[in-house]
């Protein structure tokens, strides 16, 4: 049995690694002999089989092929309809995880408990969906860990470095930046910031638009008219992007059966112009991380690149210019997250993590000096607080004879309620006939497993209520539903 297993459930590629007896992690290939499995699922129309990986990506009908499902893990309205059945994003992800579990178990023995990596900025619903996917695939989650944290653990393990490390993780769908400090065998995360929809596939989309425009100019027709043609063109643009990381220019012939072929010429300079806005956003995220950790660029000892999109020369150049040092990689940028996750499974007690989000409540805040008052998100635990932690804020009731105290539970660091999520509410019944202004203590606790608890104490009556803070809104499967879908998946043929 493999005791310490890590899975990188990526937007474009997924991988599983386990910790060998010598304490070093190793990628476990799938049954197709590949070290990484494309995160693609194909629903065959002739046989009752779900294909996962390269076979799914390369062969089938695009209308029955699901790409990049990770992008929708927090979208309750995103449903995939195949043959009259509705598939939630967590179920599609479960098929990918089930393939990894089944294939890799044949090599390393039973896999039951795993660490799964998620982007640093995954919200509550996306994290819950990932946990649900694992459960449906018959895996117990030991921990969810942020992708850049896992990569940093691997980098520190293999390079034996000390000091402050900035991990820049530009993957297929997201960008994560984490700053951590390594002292001896101990790792302390200082901050983790993430950006959604900022990854290689966004660059592919931009290139595809350029291809389509050039084709239209030359041929006077559309490059693609259906999903199959669009997929082919997208694959060509992705290949061109990869080539432009090695060459200064590429030429491609592209087209479709109806309108013929066109020759597309593209150089690196043009590509860099096309992705400039994305690179600027990436730099702003790095600046935000530096700001959150209250560090200057000179405080960073190592810059580490993770994720396939960091192969783009412009990305390396920008970071080198910013930090005045050459960014490093830890072997294969596509594999280090899974490898780090396997190490994390063993070493988690030596890794000091931080809260991924701020937690608080909505309160009417009066500024006695200015007389201003407004409803604000009043933060109790700020983001990046070292965990485990517990924080308390005092509030007062707003009305006379208030019988029910309502405490909204918020997630997000902005003071403006428009920019945060309300993920729950605690209600506490209190005695009658009390004037307004009674003190209420609100305490949030955050444990190592990223579980949050909220405690509300009415000071006068001593009444209290404690709850597990857990998003239960749209998109979260009930326990019964989860059980039902798990059994359904268990009986399924997945290749």
């Amino acid at each position: 049995m493999a005791e310490f297993v890590g899975i990188d459930l990526g937007t474009t590629l997924s991988g599983l690694a386990y910790l060998k007896a010598d304490g070093n992690p190793e990628i476990v290939p799938n049954a197709d002999g590949e070290r990484l499995t494309p995160s693609v699922v194909y629903f065959d129309s002739h046989e009752d089989v779900k294909l996962v990986g390269s076979a799914a990506r390369d062969g089938g009908d695009p209308e029955r092929t699901i790409f990049q499902i990770k992008r929708y893990m927090d979208d309750p309205e995103h449903i995939v309809k195949i043959d009259g059945k509705d598939w939630a994003p967590s179920e599609i992800s479960a098929l990918i995880l089930a393939k990894l579990k089944r294939d890799c178990s044949k090599i390393v023995g039973d896999i039951t408990e795993v660490v799964i990596t998620v982007p640093a900025n995954f919200n509550e619903l996306a994290r819950k969906s990932t946990i649900a996917a694992a459960e449906m695939a018959g895996l117990k989650i030991r921990r969810l860990v942020n992708e850049p944290t896992a990569a940093a653990v691997y980098y520190a393990h293999t390079q034996g470095v000390q000091g402050r490390i900035l991990v820049f993780d530009l993957g297929g769908g997201t960008l994560d930046t984490t700053i951590l400090e390594v002292t001896g065998d101990n790792i302390r995360i200082l901050t983790s910031e993430g950006s959604r929809h900022l990854g290689g596939s966004n660059m592919d989309d931009i290139l595809l638009a350029t291809y389509a425009e050039q084709y239209r100019k030359q041929v006077g027709a559309e490059l693609y008219n259906d999903e199959r043609q669009r997929r082919r063109a997208l694959q060509a643009s992705e290949d061109a992007k990869k080539m432009l990381s090695k060459l200064q220019r590429v030429s491609d012939t592209i087209g479709n059966d109806q309108s013929g072929l066109a020759r597309i010429d593209l150089n690196r300079e043009t590509f860099e112009k096309l992705i400039r806005s994305m690179v600027t956003r990436a730099v702003m995220l790095v600046e935000q991380a530096m700001d959150s950790a209250k560090l200057k660029v000179s405080d960073i000892d190592h810059v580490v690149l993770v994720g396939g999109s960091t192969r783009i020369p412009k990305v390396k150049q920008v970071l080198e210019k910013m930090f005045g040092k050459t960014p490093k990689t830890c072997g294969n940028v596509d594999e280090c997250v899974a490898l780090g996750a396997a190490l994390f499974a063993k070493k988690s007690s030596r890794i000091q993590e931080v809260c991924n989000q701020s937690y608080g409540t909505l309160a009417m805040v009066y500024n006695a000096a200015t007389g201003d008052e407004s409803v604000q998100n009043s933060i109790v635990i700020p983001k990046n607080t070292a965990i485990p932690c517990s924080r308390t804020q005092m509030y007062i009731t707003s009305e006379d004879n208030e019988r029910i105290i309502e405490v909204d539970i918020t997630q997000g660091e902005d003071t403006d309620p428009k920019f945060i999520d309300v993920i729950g509410r605690i209600t506490l019944e209190v005695p009658p006939n009390r004037p307004k202004g009674c003190e209420v203590a609100v305490t949030f606790s955050y444990d190592e497993n990223q579980r949050v608890r909220a405690l509300v104490v009415d000071k006068q009556s001593g009444r209290s209520r404690e709850v597990a803070v857990s998003y239960k809104g749209a998109g979260v499967l009930s326990d019964d539903e989860l059980k039902r879908r798990s059994s359904f998946l268990k009986a399924m043929r997945i290749e």
Binding site: R276, R281, A363, E406, D408, K418, L428, E466, A468
Partner: protein, 117 residues
């Protein structure tokens, strides 16, 4: 200096709030309250004719004033980027969409004031 009064958004906006249910035996956080549906039987309001809306410039979206110096613009962009980057991961789809548009505007302003990357 600050007095913090527990107050839900719905109360602060003067909307009637339903009394909260009595505490259940087994404590669990309740789901966030969904927005109230339109009252049944209420006649649908006639839609106002669609007027063309002037598209806001990046400066207007980011509230960048001509009198602001570079440092003020930098601070403003920093705050806006943090806000809208977080909002791009909101549980609310509309907030996410607006955040994406704002992030584009923020990048435009940054390039205008501080040059291209």
């Amino acid at each position: 200096m600050f007095k913090k009064v527990l107050e839900s958004i719905s109360k602060s906006l003067g909307k009637p709030t339903k009394p909260a249910p009595a505490p259940a035996a087994k404590d669990k956080a309740a789901p966030a309250a969904p927005p109230p549906p339109a009252a049944k039987g209420e006649a649908p309001k006639e839609k106002a004719p669609v007027k063309p809306v002037a598209k806001k410039s990046a400066e207007e979206l980011c509230e960048i004033e001509p009198k602001m110096n570079k440092e003020q613009v930098r601070e403003r962009l920093k705050m806006l980027y943090r806000r809208h980057n977080r909002a791009a991961s909101s549980l609310d789809a509309k907030t996410r969409e607006e955040a994406d548009a704002m992030l584009d505007a923020i990048v435009q302003i940054r390039e205008k004031f501080f040059g291209e990357i």
